[in-house]
């Protein structure tokens, strides 16, 4: 887990939305009064199940979709304004390219539209994403993973301050995914801000400084990965459990004791495991199991995005 490297200062926000809302017709609310704040230099993980409103939010941030109400500021400019877009690199949903052009020519087209040094920048980003050897091939012949890499290369063309990446590891093999995660992390370490949307908990967990979880267009949680997981605790299986629970509750370092079926859930700093074991054994309680347990982000995600009918999908 990594920690945010900047303080929560309004002046350091690169993305700020207020009550951002997108409705389709009278019944569909894709994004519902969303207040998203992304700080300079962080990797912000935007997590949510399919259909939660992640991509619609990203589309609004780059001006592809107009909000129904609310407002947003991206790098100090309204979404879609050329002065803001010139400092943003974005890959929204599946990367889209001219199928009859080579990867290199596709980037040349984009570079010319962005008015940047076509030759040097194009070769640099192709090298960064490892596509140099296939850059002369038509993109129609690319695999999904290669298109994904080209999409990231396109996002990097402008050497942007802010990267908005929507599911960047889609279609990549496990090695490619790990490589992409490390690459994204290195971009942030180099001073860029990254807004990373994904439904892959592992991806978000490994890369993000802060995470926002969205469901039905609304935030259901936001914080560092550690904050979302909650505090670690211990699981203790002891006999007799009632006596064990009584003894544990009396210990000053223990915050709470719960559990059922003989397995006690103890909210306590896991560093106290040995002391707890010693206390129980000295009191004549038979301890058969004692182990630390931290909720995974996946557990938290499933809990947060569960609907009345079950877990969100």
């Amino acid at each position: 887990m990594t920690m945010p490297r900047s303080t929560h200062d309004e002046h350091e926000l690169v993305i700020s939305t207020q009550a951002l809302t997108k409705r389709y017709g009278d019944t569909i609310v894709a994004v519902d009064e969303l207040a998203l704040r992304v700080r300079r230099g962080e990797v912000y993980g935007f997590l949510g199940p399919n259909g939660a409103g992640k991509t619609t939010t990203l589309r609004m941030l780059v001006g592809l979709v107009r909000p129904t109400s609310g407002n947003a500021t991206v790098l100090g400019a309204p979404p879609g304004a050329p002065e803001g877009l010139s400092r943003i690199g974005a890959m929204i949903e599946a990367p889209a390219f001219y199928p009859y052009l080579s990867g290199r020519d596709n980037l040349r087209v984009l570079a010319r539209h962005a008015r940047i040094d076509v030759g040097a920048q194009v070769e640099r980003v192709l090298g960064q994403v490892g596509l140099g050897s296939r850059a002369s091939d038509r993109t129609a012949t690319y695999s999904m993973g290669m298109k994904q890499r080209l999409g990231v290369a396109a996002a990097l063309l402008k050497d942007p301050e802010l990267l908005i990446l929507d599911e960047p590891t889609n279609g990549l093999d496990p090695a490619g995914m790990a490589e992409m995660r490390a690459f994204i992390r290195s971009l942030a370490d180099g001073g860029r801000t990254v807004l990373l949307s994904s439904h892959l908990m592992g991806e978000i967990e490994q890369v993000s400084d802060r995470v926002g979880v969205i469901r039905d267009g609304r935030f259901v949680a936001e914080g560092t990965v550690g904050e979302l997981r909650g505090r670690a605790g211990l699981r203790v299986r002891a006999e007799p459990p009632a006596q064990a629970a009584h003894l544990l509750a009396a210990m000053p370092e223990v915050e709470a004791v719960g559990g059922q079926n003989g397995l006690l859930e103890v909210v306590v700093d896991t560093a106290h495991a040995a002391a707890i074991n010693r206390t129980l054994v000295h009191a004549g309680v038979a301890v058969s199991e004692i182990y630390a347990q931290t909720a995974s982000l996946e557990d938290v995600f499933l809990e947060l995005t569960a609907t009345d009918g079950g877990a969100g999908s």
Binding site: V65, P82, L85, I92, E93, Y98, H113
Partner: protein
């Protein structure tokens, strides 16, 4: 803007469809303007053998632009914008930084430049065909004035541009290519074609046909030496009048281009790219 236009020219230049359309259009233009009528009976042509000689180059070639050339320009216009929706590449372009208006303008300028090739190539091919026929017939090679050729080629470009603009509008409206081309050809063939034919017997339709692209395109061609008889027997692109004067034709075609492009531009700027 220059950089944006250069990007769009790269997109059009490397697209196979651009070259296929240009090749077919140039081939068809020469085949139906020179090869077929000359091979059938040159003397029976409306202007006789002179129709196939260099001196008639301007009038002979422009007869094919108001309908046949227009259909090719329509397809090119549809491809220029409609394909961007199909491939979802507009999304990729819009996040690069240029405003939607500037991007649209650069696409139009690039399309306009490519349409110059759709005028120059058939004219060059026509010139070659007329020289060959003159050689066969032992006729002297006399060219029309450079001024007439220039005006004719400019008019040909204007006629293609109006159809290209309609293609752009249809591509944006339908956010694709297939439906846009279908509607465009339906309009060119059925709506303009049939109503123009009916207008000769139903007076009330006459004012309507005078604003059709077909009527104004052919009227402009007539002013530059096109033959009424050829236009009347131009197959699915035939037109029997009423013709309008060339000034009105220029105004109607110009306003049509402006109207199509403003509407397309507004749609492109205002609609969500979801």
């Amino acid at each position: 803007m220059r950089s944006n236009v250069s990007a769009e020219l790269l997109v059009l230049r490397k697209r196979q469809a651009t070259w296929v359309l240009l090749g077919i259009w140039a081939f068809m233009g020469i085949f139906f303007a020179y090869v077929i009528p000359y091979a059938l009976d040159a003397e029976a042509a409306p202007r006789g053998l002179a129709q196939f000689l260099p001196q008639s180059l301007a009038g002979t070639l422009i007869e094919g632009f108001p309908f046949f050339g227009g259909v090719f320009a329509l397809m090119l216009g549809v491809f220029a914008l409609g394909s961007e929706y199909g491939w979802d590449t507009l999304k990729t372009l819009f996040v690069q930084g240029p405003s939607r208006g500037s991007l649209f303008a650069s696409k139009l300028v690039a399309l306009g430049i490519v349409l110059i090739a759709f005028v120059v190539v058939p004219f060059a091919a026509g010139a070659v065909a007329s020289i060959v026929i003159a050689q066969i017939e032992g006729a002297p090679i006399v060219w029309p004035s450079a001024w007439l050729l220039l005006r004719t080629m400019a008019a040909a470009w204007l006629i293609l541009a109006v159809w290209g603009a309609l293609g752009v509008l249809l591509g944006v409206m339908t956010r694709g290519t297939s439906l846009a081309i279908g509607i465009g050809i339906l309009y060119a063939l059925v709506i303009e074609g049939l109503l123009s034919a009916f207008a000769q017997s139903v007076d009330v339709l006459e004012p309507l046909t005078q604003v059709f692209l077909r009527a104004n395109g052919y009227s402009l061609a007539m002013a530059l030496g096109a033959s009424t008889q050829v236009i009347e027997s131009n197959g699915p692109g035939s037109f029997g009048g009423p013709f309008v004067d060339s000034a009105q034709a220029l105004v109607v075609l110009g306003l049509s281009i402006a109207g199509f492009l403003v509407l397309a531009g507004v749609l492109l700027r205002r609609r969500d790219l979801a």
